[in-house]
Amino acid sequence: MKRVIKFLSASFIFAVMVLNANLAISADYKVGFIYIGPPGDHGWNYQHDVGRKAVDEAFGGKVETVFQENVPESADAERVMTQMALAGADMIFATSFGYMDPVINVAKKFPKVKFEHATGYKTADNVSTYSARFYEGRSVVGHIAGKMTKSNTIGYVASFPIPEVVRGINSAYLAAKKANPNVEFKVIWIFTWYDPAKEADAAKTLISQGADVILQHVDSSAIMTVAEEAGVYAFGQASDMSAFGPNAHLTAIINGWAPYYVEKVKQGMAGTWKGGEQTFDGIGAGMVIIGDLNDKIPASVKKEAMAIRDGIAAGTLHSFTGPINKQDGSPWLKAGETADVGTLLGMNFYVEGIEGDIPK
């Protein structure tokens, strides 16, 4: 069955790519985007597509963008990017972690094409990476979660055990613990970025075990719908999701890719674009945006949350400021010490206080 699906998606993608190739012939500069899910997810992919549209708008007819949705993180990604490069793309944005090796492979074959890979860590002469410090946003929502929970149980629906997700859990936990020393985190890993039914099941399970605030690091808005129905709180992921739960939606961590995409395309056209760079921006640079705060949050908590946001933006506050121990009790950061980027990018451990193991 899997083989059939693979064959199918491959031929389907091929057909679409041929179509796209025929469409993309007019503009001077062509930019391709590949998405892990549909841009209609109102989450991760939606925001990348917002960025793509911003590129369209910023350069008028001079730049043509093409995109391919639902590209699996496998050899299919290589095929799609190869096809894009053959069709004349000058720059390709690969917008999911799992495209890392495919990007490196395709970049070798097309040294003139510029590649931008989101959330990865491998670079080359024509590959740069970019990622957002989402964990900064999670400090803000973690604080709100800690203040809003009555059962002192916070649920966390996580996708894959990669550093980005682990970082988010740690950051949210530290902030919540600081706001409310009695909080406990329950984490469920569902091993998918986008499966509304699975996400809803995980959220329902957490609620049945007493969680009254749900955090998520998966892409769909299903959890928000479930939270609204159950009368608990949740936070929008990647996009504002208040439409799905006007009462449940406390705020959202919104990904702001548009300025970065426009800037990189500008550099690409001007010839100033450089490979091998690793961009890692947060609230300060506008790559992470805190959405509107729900009026259910008491004014004092709102104020504290905004203070955390502004402190992080100004650089006076860091999500990981010592003293912090690792889960096993061994010291990680001394008092006043902040985490270095290398450790953050490769983070594979829980901080002290979180129960359970990170799956391997």
Binding site: P196, S221, A243
Partner: protein, 310 residues
């Protein structure tokens, strides 16, 4: 780790809800396959049911009218399949796959204006007296209408296939269409009806996803449920009750592993995630081995085109 944190009554109630779309879609496919047709388009029919059900549900404000629309939409899409394979005699595997791709695409198109819209309210039906039994009441007697209907369908389809003449005719068409034809049964008509029924059931299964289980419309929301339904039909040996058990085991392990994770059980989570698939296959293999050895229940003419000779 503290097992007492798991609410087992809620666990059973949610496994039933999680399994219901599978039960519905797989029952439909079971009838289709019993008539000798292999329709790999379940996923496509489910998603078209999901989107059509959601649209109509939102517009009318009634989830149940939405479910009727879901059935109609699934049936309409299956008509296309029926025409291609019965009249044009096209390859069933290829046509079924095409149906899935087509369904996914057209559903995304139709559903675009409906992403981010609240679904209509649904009411659960608490069966009087029974629903007040502690634990058991929560588990079994406080569900929505569709859950009860899915259980009634299992019973009805079992009765139809094993106790009714019409069911016998359907099975004979699936076993050997040439013989059935020579006996005077209308192979094409019977298969046509079976396919449309299968489409309607898959549509209902999809509608249950978007109107009851999640409930909202998102692109690609079936996420492979149609393929699992297809696999369930085969592993259940084309028997309705085994199919129900298989679906519940699948849903049960899925929900159980989420619960175990949330209480922090020290088991490799990759194994836990794989568990529903393994357990379902194992359970159904064991059931099929112990009794009725040799009789796997696969219809003899499954997937073969019927060419009228006389």
């Amino acid at each position: 780790m503290d097992l007492s944190e798991i609410n087992f009554a809620v666990l059973v109630a949610s496994l039933i809800v999680a399994s219901t779309p599978l039960v519905l879609a797989a029952l439909g496919e079971l009838i289709v396959e019993k008539s000798g047709v292999l329709n790999l388009g379940v996923e496509g029919m489910m998603i078209i049911g999901a989107v059509a059900g959601f649209i109509v549900g939102v517009e009318t404000g009634s989830a149940y009218i939405g479910m009727i629309a879901a059935a109609v939409a699934g049936a309409l899409l299956s008509l296309l399949f029926a025409f291609i394979i019965l009249i044009m005699q096209a390859n069933q595997v290829a046509s079924g796959l095409a149906l899935t791709i087509f369904g996914l695409g057209i559903a995304a198109l139709m559903g675009h204006p409906y992403t981010g819209i609240k679904s209509p309210q649904i009411s659960t039906i608490s069966i009087p007296i029974l629903s007040e039994i502690p634990i058991l009441g929560t588990m079994f007697f406080q569900h929505d209408l569709i859950v009860y209907l899915s259980l009634i369908s299992v019973l009805t389809i079992w009765y139809f296939l094993t106790r009714m003449r019409a069911g016998l005719i359907l099975r004979s068409v699936g076993e050997d269409h040439d013989v059935a034809h020579s006996l005077g049964y209308r192979v094409i008509t019977i298969r046509f009806l079976a396919i449309v029924f299968g489409g309607a059931m898959a549509g209902v299964g999809g509608g249950y996803l978007s109107l009851f289980r999640v409930p909202q419309w998102t692109e690609g929301m079936t996420a492979g449920a149609g393929w699992i339904a297809l696999a369930l039909v085969v592993f259940s040996g084309w028997r309705p009750f085994r199919l129900l058990i298989g679906a519940y085991i699948f849903g049960g392990i899925t929900i159980l592993q989420l619960n175990l994770q949330a209480i922090g059980v020290n088991i490799n989570i990759a194994v836990l995630s794989m568990a529903p698939y393994l357990a379902t296959i194992l359970a159904l293999v064991v059931i099929s081995m112990s009794r009725f050895r040799g009789n796997r229940g696969a219809p003899g003419c499954l997937g073969r085109s019927f060419v009228k000779t006389i």
